[in-house]
């Protein structure tokens, strides 16, 4: 038997193996002979043994099952957790292994995450007749608050303008009829005070109430988000 005979018999023996797998194995053993060199061909052939034996080795260990400390394991389940990290190893590990461990554990939580996320989405859709109107009313309330603030601000500005106009009018009236002028100036001052009040109110709203509202919304959002997260973990 020479190299070519060996490869031919190996090919024939690799029956229930995928084409890709077969090509890989044949390539490997062809390489192997080439790298050993022609003068070592006899030696390699003797050491490799029967091609059928080599094929059985490939089929059993490579694709279907393999021998481990826990006995024979199915190749398909083995590949699911590519890198085997026995539990007792996790107690004493250096940084690199810690990484390996966390990456494998995060993978498992990720897969359970996706299922719980699906459940959360389904529940969210089913309960939508309840929370959609609530959400809309909250949104509406916020919007009306904002409308009120804008109203206050505009009132302040308009009152201020009115106060200035009235003041100018009052001063001009003061020359023709001092009494009427005094009244008009008095009205202007009242308008001015009202304008200042509205402006102050707007400032207070902008400074304190809006951040408070934003904070509330944030807290509410975080609360919902946290609940979702907790649900996902559980």
């Amino acid at each position: 038997m020479n190299k070519e005979d060996f490869l031919k018999r190996l090919e024939d023996a690799l029956t229930d193996v995928s084409e890709g797998e077969k090509a890989e194995a044949l390539q490997y053993y062809r390489d192997y002979f080439e790298d050993a060199g022609p003068d070592k061909e006899e030696e390699v052939l003797a050491s490799l043994g029967a091609p059928e034996e080599v094929a059985r080795n490939i089929k059993e260990e490579g694709t279907f099952c393999e021998y481990t400390e826990k006995g024979f394991q199915d190749g398909t389940t083995q590949s699911a957790n590519a890198v085997v990290v026995p539990d007792q190893m996790s107690s004493s590990q250096n940084g690199d292994q810690g990484n390996a461990n966390t990456s494998s554990s995060s993978q498992t939580t990720k897969s359970s995450d996706s299922t719980t996320t699906a459940v959360v989405i389904i529940i969210a859709i089913l309960t939508s007749p309840v929370w959609v109107p609530i959400l809309f009313s909250i949104f509406g309330a916020i919007l009306s608050c904002i409308g009120c603030f804008i109203g206050f601000a505009i009132s302040g500005v308009v009152l201020a303008i009115a106060a200035i106009i009235t003041l100018v009018l009052g001063i001009t009236c003061l020359f023709s009829s001092p009494a009427l002028g005094a009244i008009v100036i008095g009205i202007a001052l009242i308008l001015g005070v009202a304008a200042i009040l509205f402006v102050l109110l707007t400032v207070v709203i902008c400074k304190y109430f809006i951040p408070f509202l934003v904070d509330c919304v944030k807290k509410f959002w975080n609360w919902i988000f946290k609940k979702k997260k907790e649900g996902a973990v559980a």
């Binding site: 194995a25 490997y28 390489d31 490799l48 080795n57 490579g62 400390e69 190893m89 390996a100």
Partner: protein, 108 residues
């Protein structure tokens, strides 16, 4: 050899051999190096290399050599992590056994 080489130890030895060549190394060379350390048949290594490749501990590439393509094996980052783990575990294991042999110490 008197002692059996389990799948994990064989993986560790192969990863260690491959990791020593930064540019990667090929099947025949790996086999010779592994065989200089432990007694295994020449056909044992291909399934191990294939499995390590599937587990993403090794990556392969083909490079032209003397008018043909030779397949090279190179350790991946994941392979290095796995090798570190094997080394640490082996150290623990062999220390315990050596402790027992030399001093009769048994950790409890």
């Amino acid at each position: 050899m008197v002692f059996n080489t389990g799948a994990a130890l064989l993986d560790a030895i192969v990863l260690a051999v491959v990791s020593k060549d930064m540019e990667g190394t090929y099947g025949y060379k790996i086999t010779q190096k592994v065989r200089s350390v432990i007694e295994i048949s020449e056909s044992t290594l291909y399934p191990v290399l294939r499995r390590l490749q599937k587990d993403a501990c090794l990556e392969v590439y083909d490079q032209e050599c003397a008018g043909r393509n030779r397949r090279y094996y190179k350790i991946t980052e994941q392979g290095r992590v796995q090798l570190n783990l094997y080394e640490a575990e082996w150290r623990k294991y062999s220390d315990k056994i050596m402790g027992l042999f030399e001093k009769g110490v048994v950790d409890e």
